[in-house]
Symmetry: C2
Subunit: 245 residues, 2 copies
DNA sequence: CTACTGTTTCTCTCATATCGAACAGTGTTC
DNA sequence: GAACACTGTTCGATATGAGAGAAACAGTAG
């Protein structure tokens, strides 16, 4: 059913995961699509500017795809509330903050706020997808999930062996109120996150990142993050109460 | 050729332009697609999370579409250079700055920087598409286009009558080095923009926005913007020189 | 309860997208 | 400089997916 549409989407996903533009042949072999079929789909995608054709007939994600994707943030009414909160966190602490939601076993970063000081910004993490269990925001979102939903968001799918360590860590996160990531994702950078409960959207979390060896006190930072997260949950609650009223 | 793929893309475009989620019937009639076919395509899009299904079986842009769209910024190496420059502008002037590129007759906003002070952020303009001739960034990008390319980026497509006023304004923009928008797009807000020339990417511009009636002097602001824009052009030049070397 | 709007699922027919193979550019290698 | 390997493109025959209508189903309003 609807194979060509699914193939077009797979092409978009493949190209979004690749940091370099890919030529037709590479795309066709990666996805097991005959070259001629891939060619037709690529032409359709490029004609609508969902793909861009680079100098050497390679394809990368186009402007229209960006435009369409940006509409997701607009439709997600939560983000409008989240951004000011992140800005507040970043201003108070002087470090980068971000907001992510859970999608299957991954955490997807929706938005972030950088401190004004930094000369060179890191590669923008917005739109990044990482396994939830290796990120602070992911663990924060996982920790407060009801037990019956949790399995669906763990990579092992409920296997006992691998999950034991994770379950223990999530229990610890629940106990102290925030999650920690000491260089698991990017070595040398610590992330601290706390959960955000949105009645309408899925489970999510906000977090901050800073270099290990900074003078910042982890407990103090965590207090700020937890404070912001709980206020955010509160705001999101009133938001939906208005929408449903 | 490839109708179902094109239809899927049109559905995405339609939903990205709508601020509310749309039900199947509305989508089908808007795009002249038989309901049963639309249903199949929507299922395919939703199964890959390019669309989200809301409470009342309505569809809106999904998380995966956002993720894919964000990849466009990552592939656009210009943005990494632009963001710090915008941050500098916003810090110096204390007002919102943004970067947009020309796409056909429209200007599409790629990124922006908000000043830290503002309590409530305006609806994020990132991903917005506006007619180039009614925006400061659009006019700045248009003004320095070679004559033979300009027609393709004007809505009237080269008709003399309507273009006369625009051509005069673009000449004025070229003369003083920056473009101005006094409430044309949003009443009460002035935008000032200057062109950015990227050897690899298309024509673009950076600009700033602030409320009319502010104490800021337009000439002083324009000087900052033009300064940033020319430095940006310089940086982008060295960037591609490295890439091709 | 009934009428109505909208969604979902069938079915069947016919158009059409898919596929493999052959063609045509481009740069590389010996 | 010629043959080669690598691309992207084109072109028909076939199978697959799209089109159209009807009908079952759910929710809402009269």
């Amino acid at each position: 059913m609807s194979t060509s549409v699914l193939r077009a989407l797979k092409i978009l996903e493949l190209l979004s995961g690749s940091d370099k533009p890919l030529p037709l042949t590479r795309i066709a072999e990666q996805l097991d699509i005959p070259k001629s079929t891939a060619h037709a789909i690529l032409r359709a995608l490029a004609s609508r500017e969902f793909l861009e054709v680079t100098e050497h007939a390679s394809y990368s994600i186009g402007l229209r795809a960006f435009e369409v994707g940006a509409a997701h943030l607009r439709s997600n009414n939560a983000v409008d509330i989240v951004i000011p909160q992140l800005a507040g966190l970043t201003k108070e602490l002087g470090i980068t903050s971000h907001y992510a939601v859970l999608d299957g076993t991954d955490a997807v970063y929706l938005c972030k706020q950088d401190p004004p000081g930094l000369g060179i910004k890191l590669a923008s993490s917005v739109g990044a997808r990482l396994p939830a269990v290796v990120t602070a925001v992911g663990k924060a979102a996982l920790a407060w999930l009801p037990g019956n939903e949790l399995a669906a968001h763990l990579p092992s799918g409920g296997e006992v062996g691998r999950d034991v360590g994770i379950m223990a860590e999530l229990a610890q996160v629940r106990e102290r109120g925030y999650s920690l990531d000491d260089g698991e994702t990017a070595s040398g950078v610590r992330c601290i996150a706390a959960p955000v409960f949105s009645p309408s959207g899925g489970p999510g979390a906000i977090g901050v990142s800073y270099m290990l060896g900074s003078t910042l006190d982890a407990d103090a930072v965590a207090a700020h993050v937890m404070n912001s997260a709980s206020r955010l949950t509160q705001l999101l609650g009133t938001l939906t109460r208005k929408a449903t009223a």
